[in-house]
């Protein structure tokens, strides 16, 4: 497996411009000769499909939802970063770049991150022109808020529904292209495999979720925009249908998987309230702007929050990190919360949370101003817990939320399989070992609107004529897909799919979650194959393969999680350091922070699938930090 990141030469601020000039173009008349498949219609996928359709490519977009608008991007709450410096507080492209590299704990590729910071400007312009109703000030100009990991105010937002509004903007752009005949939309179609022939991606095989029909779709290039894999933990903030299948199938066909162990645990989620629970709900990180996080100083203090006087409260983030306070990056805020709960300071009926308190914000700004900023989040919280956050502090606890790992891509966002591109959360690219808040929307849209529509042309323009017949390869893959479906249906065991998923999730949370150890990971690597074997023997999937069958859909996804989980543990074990969200208990500084080992681990770990019983093989992309010197992160 060859890893050539193809980073353009020249000074960092000129790389993207120069690359745009040096890339080969497809002339407008020729664009309509190329077929491009986009899988997934979240921010990245919808933006990419709409823009490529607009440019003249023949685009087919696929989603397993009933409509492109349902993608999980819709649930992003807090906002989107852009280095506009509209607040005049000293922001710049370089500062956003710097914050992102540092926030990622020096495990991302500088050139990509710099491009991301540059494109952040275009994204806001584009979204505003589309009519995205961002929050405004009284003068009619755009409002900003602050977010974790930054000391400037650069986050644009639409109440607590920024992801929804940006996705609807991209969705509407996509619908416009569908109307124009430039994009053909396939809803309720799940991609179950990638077809590779003659060393290039040639198309995909899908299952129609309504009829069960397995079909082939060929194309000159395939773009995966299929999101992240936090649901490997079963309980996460991701939507229930989010899964690893598309990227895992691509991995098994030759795409390297980069840093799979980099999974982000979001600090502000509603704590679990019982065994049966199906998912966890995130409360936007923007709440940390005005909310103060604390636990009672006394262990096991059962008094209601308002009866605990100030001097008996520990505002631990403000105490430990005076300059960033409640706005420390996510990994730090999460780990400290876990520490507090583990040490016996947890609050709530299950003693599994910490307080996020708006008492002081309400006193300072008034209830109305607080409601203006966070009203819908407060309402959401009240619906779930029955508590009113204007009166009683919120209870929060970390939960799996985002995955920085993903398929490895070069500067053009192409995977190790030529012709297979990966965008948005599905790739590993820009966030290193920890993503800063309000950066996921930015990356999804940068990839979708502004990067892939140009870089794909560089590939297509160099495709040899007479692309060779791939019919046999499609046939083989179709058969594999059908066989697999039959196998799931014919196991007829005694356990439900969810029971396996929950068991896997608990195992991964305990052994490969917020804190990892060599011993625990080795244990996980012993147990996962056994669980997988039991799954294939004991799973019960009711219904047939020829109709709408949600149990069958779920079974296929869990089967892939059961394979993928093992790779995640291999990666976490091999990365014998702590960095960002990857916290190995063996590697802690005296102050209790993640202790990186730059000597040995300043690289991306890219895994090659070898099949059968063979362990995956690791390849490395070494990372250089020329512009943001390697340093211990400090938010004190």
């Amino acid at each position: 497996m060859e890893l050539n990141a193809r980073i353009p030469a020249g000074p960092i601020e000129q790389k993207w411009d120069r690359h745009r000039f040096e890339m080969k173009l497809v002339n407008p008349a020729n664009k309509r000769k190329f077929d491009v498949i986009v899988v997934g219609t979240g921010l990245a996928g919808a933006a990419a499909a709409a823009t490529m359709g607009e440019l003249g490519y023949r685009v087919r977009a696929f989603t397993f939802h009933d409509s492109p608008r349902r993608a999980h991007s819709i649930a992003a709450q807090g906002g989107i970063n852009a280095a506009k410096n509209y607040q005049g507080d000293g922001d710049s492209v370089f500062r956003l770049f710097h914050d992102t590299v540092k926030g990622g704990d020096f495990r991302s590729r500088e050139a990509n991150v710099y491009r991301l910071a540059q494109l952040s400007l275009n994204i806001i312009d584009q979204a505003v022109a589309q009519g995205v109703p961002f929050a405004r000030e009284y003068g009619g100009l755009l409002a900003n808020r602050s977010f974790g990991g930054a000391q400037v105010s650069r986050t644009f937002y639409a109440r607590g529904q920024t992801g929804q509004q940006l996705l609807l903007g991209a969705y509407q752009a996509l619908q416009r292209q569908i109307h124009a005949g430039a994009v053909e939309m396939h809803t309720r179609q799940e991609m179950l495999d990638v077809v590779v022939a003659d060393g290039r991606a040639r198309g995909i095989v899908t299952r129609d979720l309504l009829t069960g029909k397995v079909e082939s779709h060929s194309a000159d290039a395939v773009v995966l925009a299929t999101g992240g894999y936090s649901n490997v933990f079963f309980l996460s903030t991701n939507a229930k249908l989010c899964n690893v299948t598309a990227t895992w199938r691509a991995h098994k066909r030759g795409a390297g998987f980069a840093n799979p162990c980099f999974t982000q645990i979001h600090p502000t989620c509603i704590p679990q309230s019982g065994e049966y629970q199906s998912k966890l709900t995130l409360m936007s990180e923007s709440l940390r702007n005005d909310g103060r996080i604390w636990v009672p100083k006394a262990k096991g203090d059962k008094r209601p929050a308002h009866q605990i006087p100030d001097d008996e409260r520990d505002y631990y983030l403000e105490r430990l990190y005076p300059s960033f306070g409640n706005l420390t990056p996510r990994d730090i805020a999460s780990r400290r919360a876990k520490e507090m709960v583990d040490a016996g300071h947890g609050i709530g009926p299950m003693e599994n949370g910490v307080y996020l308190d708006f008492r002081d914000a309400i006193r300072r700004m008034g209830k109305e101003a607080v409601s203006e900023r966070y009203g819908n989040l407060f309402a959401m919280y009240e619906k779930i817990t029955g508590d009113d956050p204007y009166e009683v502090p919120m209870r929060i606890y970390p939960a799996p939320h985002y995955t920085m790992g993903g398929l490895w891509v070069d500067y053009n966002l192409m995977s190790t399989v030529p012709g297979l591109f990966v965008i948005g959360e599905a790739n590993f690219s820009d966030h290193g070992a920890n993503r800063l808040g309000a950066s996921a929307l930015m990356q999804g849209l940068a990839d979708g609107y502004f990067v892939i529509p140009l870089t794909i042309g560089d590939y297509l323009s160099q495709l040899p004529d007479g692309n060779g017949d791939a019919a046999a390869a499609f046939k083989d893959v179709e058969k594999e897909v059908r066989d697999r479906t039959d196998r799931l249906l014919s196991a007829r065991g005694s356990r439900t799919v969810d029971s396996f998923h929950m068991e896997l999730g608990r195992l991964m949370w305990d052994l490969c979650g917020m804190e990892r150890t060599e011993e625990g990971l080795k244990d996980a690597l012993e147990r996962i194959p056994k669980l997988r074997e039991e799954f294939w023997r004991e799973v019960r999937v009711p219904g047939s393969g020829e109709s709408f069958n949600q149990s069958l859909e779920k079974a296929g996804r869990v089967a892939d999680f059961l394979e993928f989980a093992e790779l995640m543990c291999h990666d976490a074990l091999q990365r014998d350091e702590s960095c960002g969200a990857h916290y190995r208990r063996e590697h802690t500084t005296e102050e209790g922070e993640a202790k990186r080992n730059d000597e040995e681990f300043t690289h991306v770990s890219v895994w090659e699938h070898r099949g059968g019983d063979e362990a995956p093989r690791e390849h490395r992309e070494e990372l250089d930090f020329e512009h943001v010197p390697l340093s211990q992160r400090s938010y004190k």
């Binding site: 584009q126 022109a129 589309q130 509004q165 049966y276 199906s278 959401m380 619906k383 439900t496 009711p542």
Partner: protein
């Protein structure tokens, strides 16, 4: 608590469908309505039966996937709440709950509680956007937007496309859904150039898709989990009136 569920079961559009009754035991009040259905489905699967099909995804009231009639009310008894945000503390021990799919000609049943809402996409497709080429936008601050207009646009833009408005309407009209998008874009300066063509085209598609007319019952506003006001339908009607009076016929205007 212990509940009795009467759930609509229908294997596909051709099947006439029927209610089936299930006992749901050991339901705790902190469960969400969909957690409860998950549990019922787990037990059905263990008993060798086919689980109840229902659309769902984010489970936090924003994706718009879930939607079902609960005791005859879209998304159930709580206002401003989707089915996935409804919690069992809204019910009591011994309750009977009737669960049905959305009922509307334009939303054929796919299976059990799952319906096709494809017409919504086609309504958006026919004009629910601002025609702006990627990369062609001017700096965001060259388009100031009055705060009040932006806020009102946002109040309309929060629509999640769940279809509750259609299910609640005695005419199965999708006018609230259509008006929410028309108003969102009409209230922003960005939407102005296409304002009148948009409303003509979207209303035309709305009618072609088999949705009924709006006769101002207002049931949609009550059912809307995002609290979108019927005032936006009034705004749509004003724009439609103006657009219809203008000299350019819709088709000509579109070209």
């Amino acid at each position: 608590m212990r509940l009795t569920l009467h759930v609509w079961r229908q294997s596909d559009a051709r099947d006439p469908g029927r209610f089936e009754t299930y006992e749901a035991n050991d339901i705790s009040e902190s469960m969400s309505f969909l957690d409860m259905l998950d549990l019922v489905n787990e037990r059905l699967t263990e008993d060798g039966k086919e689980p109840i099909a229902f659309d769902h995804d984010c489970r936090e009231g924003i994706c718009g996937s879930c939607g079902m009639m609960i005791n005859g009310v879209p998304h159930g008894p709580k206002t401003m709440t989707t089915a996935c945000q409804l919690h069992m503390r809204s019910f009591s021990d011994g309750d009977e709950i009737w669960i049905e799919p959305w009922r509307a000609q334009a939303f054929p049943v796919i299976r059990d509680l799952v319906v096709s809402r494809d017409p919504f996409d086609r309504i958006i497709e026919s004009g629910g956007y601002v025609s702006v080429r990627t990369g062609s936008a001017p700096d965001a601050h060259t388009i100031p937007v009055e705060k009040q207009a932006a806020d009102e646009a946002m109040d309309a833009a929060v629509c999640i496309g769940c279809g509750a408005c259609v299910a609640a309407c005695p005419n199965a009209s999708a006018m609230l859904f259509t008006a929410a998008k028309v108003a969102h874009l009409a209230l922003m300066p960005q939407g102005a150039p296409e304002r009148y063509d948009r409303v003509l085209s979207m209303v035309e598609t709305h009618d072609e898709e088999g949705f009924g007319n709006c006769t101002n019952h207002g049931a949609c506003e009550v059912a809307c989990p995002k609290g979108i006001s019927v005032d936006y339908i009034a705004q749509l009607n004003r724009d439609l009136f103006r657009a219809t009076l203008s000299s350019r016929p819709a088709n000509e205007a579109k070209e």
